[in-house]
Every structure is written in structure tokens, then in C-alpha cells.
């Protein structure tokens, strides 16, 4: 591991100024991904700016009834928060589905958004990787890719985003706030994560030197009736091979409102807007749910070893929407 300096920041302007003065610096939150990548030699910062003690650890209602979540809130505190569990249960479930109790205590919301793919080629310095070393190639296309992307990928990269939390945030139209030396800014999550294209190494639209300060969830009554379902290769403590965040409002057998986002299928949390359009105003039936899934997955492009994800994601849509429908009737 490269030697590095360490500074602890106690206020947001101080943290931003430290990064501005040291281009090879990284912000350190919980460190559960960054320290691991530093050990692997993927990340080689000259300076770590510890932002864990910044006063960004609150979860509070916004004036319009949404929730504002600070960037240094730990995954554990987010998932345990009564208002998160009450108004956005799929978000609490998504966070609880990720990692382990130890890691959730350490990991922060800001860091969770910025965590890197778990594609094995990304962390293997002996292999090419367009995300790690732009232009070097993508061995996953013809190599190990059973857990790689089926939506929105490119010939340059087929890695998936590993976050469960971000999938629920995508379903609920979260807005990411940040601070730069030039002042604050914000990005809707749909714009926060960039399409892969030919720049898989540029993952977000955050301006250079920006510090994520928080995430705002707009008020969404439908979110109170939501669920996150994660499929993985063992019962717990593993990354998803498929996941879904779904929220549903059904009245008199008709879908009034619906939110759908998929995990483990793309370089970013995948908001299934095509499926949502098919569902709104239509019947709350398993047939309609399957048709909606098909509408979204029409664009899927499977590699030789990951075609199962198309079926898996389709089944997740039908199963979870059916469960939410049955709960609404009870």
C-alpha cells in the first residue's frame, strides 16, 4: 500500500478545502470499500481526509414531508431509523440486505453511493480493466461474467453496481446533495450515476472535488407500501445476483402508483420506468406484472453466462408486486 497522509475534518468547508489542496486525496467514511481497495492497490491516495465526524449524521423530515439523510449516517442507523422504516420500508430492507452487521455499523450513506464494483477483474491488478485502467480492455466480456450486467452495459464494461441501498434510493427518486469549493449542488439519482458508454471509469456526475453531504427522499405516499427483495448465492452476507425495490398503490384492482428499480443488472441502480409506464392505470394482475417486466427487459442484452438474470429479474417483478398486491387487499 502506498504511504498516505491522514487528516480529520470537522466541518464541511474544511473537508472540501483539504481535498481542493490535494488532488490525490480521498474522503474516508467508513472505509469498508476504500481501505479494501487500497490494500489491493486499486486505490492509491496520497492523503485520506476522514469525514466520519462531520456533522452530517442526522435523519430528519424536510418541510414537505420527505426525509433528509446526512452523508455520514451509518447504514445501521439508517436501517434502524423509525421514520425510514415507516415511510420507506424498502430502503430499510435494502440496507439490511447488504453486507454484515459489522460493516453496516462502519459504512456511511455517502460511501455506500460511491462504492465500486465487485467485478473480479476490477480488483485484480494483473488483468486489464477499462474501469480501473481506461483503454486496457474488458476480460469479463469473454471471461467470468455470470454476475455481470444485462442492461445498459457497453462493449467497454459490463460491471454491476454493488449497492442495495442505491436501488431503493433510485425507486424513490432520491436527490444527492454535495458541496464544492464553489458552493453546494444537487443531483437526482437518475443523473448522479452516468451511463457506461466508453467511459466506465467515470461513474458519477459529481463535479471534481465534491463532497456528498446528504440524500433527500421526496415525499412519496406509495413508498410506505414497498419492499426490497434480494437474491444471492448464499442466504446472507453476499452481493446480489438480482434484486428489486418495489412500491405499489392498488385501488379497486387498478395500479394507481408504482415504483420499480432493479439491482445487480447494470452499472447503476436500474429504475424500471418502461415497466412503470405499462403498469400505471392497468390491472393489478400477475399477467400485467409479467408484461411490464417484459417491457423493461426487452432491452436486456445477455452474455453467454448471465442470461439467467433476465428470467430472475422478471420473476422478481411478478413475485414482489403480487405480494404487495395481496398485502394491499388484506
Amino acid at each position: 500500500m502506498r504511504e498516505f497522509g491522514y487528516e480529520r475534518a470537522f466541518d464541511v468547508p474544511g473537508a472540501v478545502a483539504l481535498l481542493g489542496a490535494a488532488p490525490e486525496a480521498r474522503f474516508l467514511g467508513g472505509g469498508t470499500n476504500l481501505i479494501d481497495l487500497m490494500k489491493a492497490g486499486v486505490e492509491r491516495p496520497a492523503l485520506l481526509i476522514d469525514v466520519r465526524e462531520l456533522p452530517l449524521d442526522g435523519v430528519e423530515f424536510t418541510h414537505d414531508g420527505g426525509l433528509r439523510i446526512g452523508a455520514t449516517v451509518t447504514n445501521s442507523d439508517l436501517a434502524a431509523h423509525p421514520e425510514v422504516r415507516r415511510h420507506y420500508p424498502a430502503l430499510a430492507q435494502a440496507v439490511l440486505a447488504g453486507a454484515s452487521g459489522q460493516l453496516r455499523n462502519m459504512a456511511t450513506v455517502g460511501g455506500n453511493l460511491l462504492q465500486r464494483t465487485r467485478c473480479g477483474y476490477f480488483t485484480d491488478l494483473s488483468k486489464p480493466c477499462n474501469k480501473r485502467a481506461p483503454g486496457s480492455g474488458c476480460p469479463a466480456l469473454t471471461g467470468e461474467h455470470h454476475n455481470h450486467a444485462i442492461l445498459g452495459a457497453s462493449e467497454h464494461c459490463v460491471a454491476t453496481h454493488p449497492s442495495d441501498m442505491a436501488v431503493a434510493l433510485a425507486a424513490f427518486d432520491a436527490v444527492i446533495s454535495y458541496e464544492t469549493a464553489d458552493g453546494p449542488g444537487e443531483l437526482p439519482i437518475a443523473e448522479f450515476y452516468r451511463p457506461v458508454g466508453d467511459t466506465p471509469h467515470i461513474e458519477t456526475s459529481l463535479p471534481p472535488g465534491a463532497l456528498i453531504t446528504g440524500v433527500t427522499l421526496p415525499p412519496a405516499p406509495v413508498a410506505a407500501h414497498s419492499r426490497y427483495r434480494k437474491v444471492r448465492e448464499r442466504a446472507s452476507y453476499a452481493f446480489a445476483i438480482g434484486s428489486i425495490a418495489a412500491a405499489l398503490d392498488v385501488q379497486d384492482g387498478v395500479v394507481r402508483d408504482v415504483r420499480l428499480a432493479f439491482g445487480a443488472v447494470a452499472s447503476r441502480p436500474w429504475r424500471a420506468r418502461a415497466a412503470e409506464r405499462v403498469l400505471i392505470g392497468g390491472p393489478a394482475s400477475a399477467e400485467a406484472y409479467a408484461a411490464a417486466a417484459d417491457a423493461e427487459l426487452e432491452a436486456a442484452e445477455a452474455l453467454p453466462e448471465n442470461g439467467y438474470k433476465v428470467t430472475l429479474t422478471r420473476n422478481l417483478v411478478v413475485a414482489v408486486l403480487t405480494e404487495l398486491t395481496e398485502e394491499a387487499i388484506r
Binding site: 497522509g5 490494500k39 452487521g101
Partner: protein, 196 residues
């Protein structure tokens, strides 16, 4: 502590099991290596060193964390509890006693991490935290019972390659039940006191 930006090491003071230790550390030093290699607190074990096995679990400000992904320099100012600080002198902590009584280990290598994690699981459950197997996470649904399924999920960050899981689950369940019975008994006593 405010090192010059160019400095790659610092003199730090760690608060471990209620005692202060001052030591120089290269910033690359994890808390795990500081404990084992610098302070001779070798109860905390190194398994994978990648945050995947839980053998290095300690408590930071009362919450469980993997010390292999925690930089020592970033742990300054926090209350660190290792397995060496769990017992009350010669009297084992109930979780330690339950692991002994129920054979919650075979080779013992993962045991310090399992015990630190179990302590936190019981606290987290008592605080009303749901888990990934909790059917209804809404606060109105109340706290889930600490069933074997809940314990397995909550302890899933601690691997045991000997496969002592069945006994580990029993040990955690025994302590949690005893703690709940105690809490129930004292609540009952309070009610009686108030009535009297």
C-alpha cells in the same frame, strides 16, 4: 492530533478496554495490526484481512466493527473494546460462558470475533433493530423475537470454518433469553414497587 499533510505517520492514543495506549503508527496500520503487532493484544484474530470473515470483530463505541478495515489512526478518540475487555476480571461474560457451556466453537480461532459480534447482536436486538429476515420492518410491527433464523442472519458476518454454527446460535439464544427474562423481571419489580 494534527499531523502535517505530508506526514505518513502519527503518534496516536487509543482507548482500549478502558486503558489508554499511546503509540506511533504508520497511517497504513489497521486497528487489527495495531492491536496484535504493536500492543500485544492478540485475542483479536486476523482471518481474511478483507472484511469478509469477522474474525477481527471488536466494538467501537459499543458497536461491532471489523478491525481489519478500520485504520488505527482513524480509531483515535473512540472507545475500543476487544475480547480481552469483555470479561469482568476472572468472571466470564455470560456470552463467553454460554459459548463454553454449549461448545460454541471447535478450533476457537473465530471465537473472539463471534463473541464480540454476539454481544452486539443482543444489544442491537434489544434496541429494536430489525434484520434482513425480519418480516415487517415497520416500527409498528414491534421488535422481532430473536429466533434461530434471526440469530443466523444477524451473526452472518462471522464465519466459522469448523462449522460450530448450531452451538453458536444456541449460545446466543441462551444469553438473549436470560437477558430478556432479567429485563422482564426488573420491569415487573418496578411495577410492583410503583403499586406498593
Amino acid at each position: 492530533m494534527a499531523p502535517a499533510p505530508s506526514s505518513t505517520s502519527s503518534a496516536i492514543t487509543l482507548n482500549i478496554n478502558g486503558e489508554k495506549y499511546t503509540l506511533p503508527v504508520d497511517h497504513r496500520t489497521t486497528l487489527l495490526d495495531a492491536l496484535r503487532e504493536h500492543l500485544d493484544l492478540t485475542g483479536t484474530k486476523k482471518g481474511c484481512d478483507q472484511g469478509q470473515c469477522g474474525a477481527c470483530t471488536v466494538l467501537l463505541d459499543g458497536r461491532r466493527a471489523v478491525s481489519c478495515l478500520q485504520l488505527a489512526v482513524a480509531a483515535e478518540g473512540r472507545a475500543i473494546t476487544t475480547i480481552e475487555g469483555v470479561a469482568d476480571g476472572e468472571r466470564l461474560h455470560p456470552v463467553q460462558q454460554a459459548f463454553l457451556d454449549l461448545d460454541g466453537y471447535q478450533c476457537g480461532y473465530c471465537t473472539p470475533g463471534q463473541i464480540c459480534s454476539a454481544l452486539a447482536v443482543i444489544e442491537e436486538h434489544a434496541a429494536g433493530w430489525p434484520s434482513a429476515v425480519t418480516d415487517d420492518v415497520r416500527p409498528e410491527a414491534g421488535v422481532p423475537a430473536l429466533t434461530a433464523e434471526e440469530i443466523r442472519e444477524r451473526m452472518s458476518g462471522n464465519l466459522c470454518r469448523c462449522g460450530a454454527y448450531v452451538s453458536i446460535v444456541q449460545a446466543v439464544a441462551r444469553v438473549a433469553e436470560a437477558a430478556e427474562a432479567d429485563a422482564g423481571a426488573s420491569a415487573e419489580a418496578e411495577v410492583k414497587e410503583a403499586a406498593a
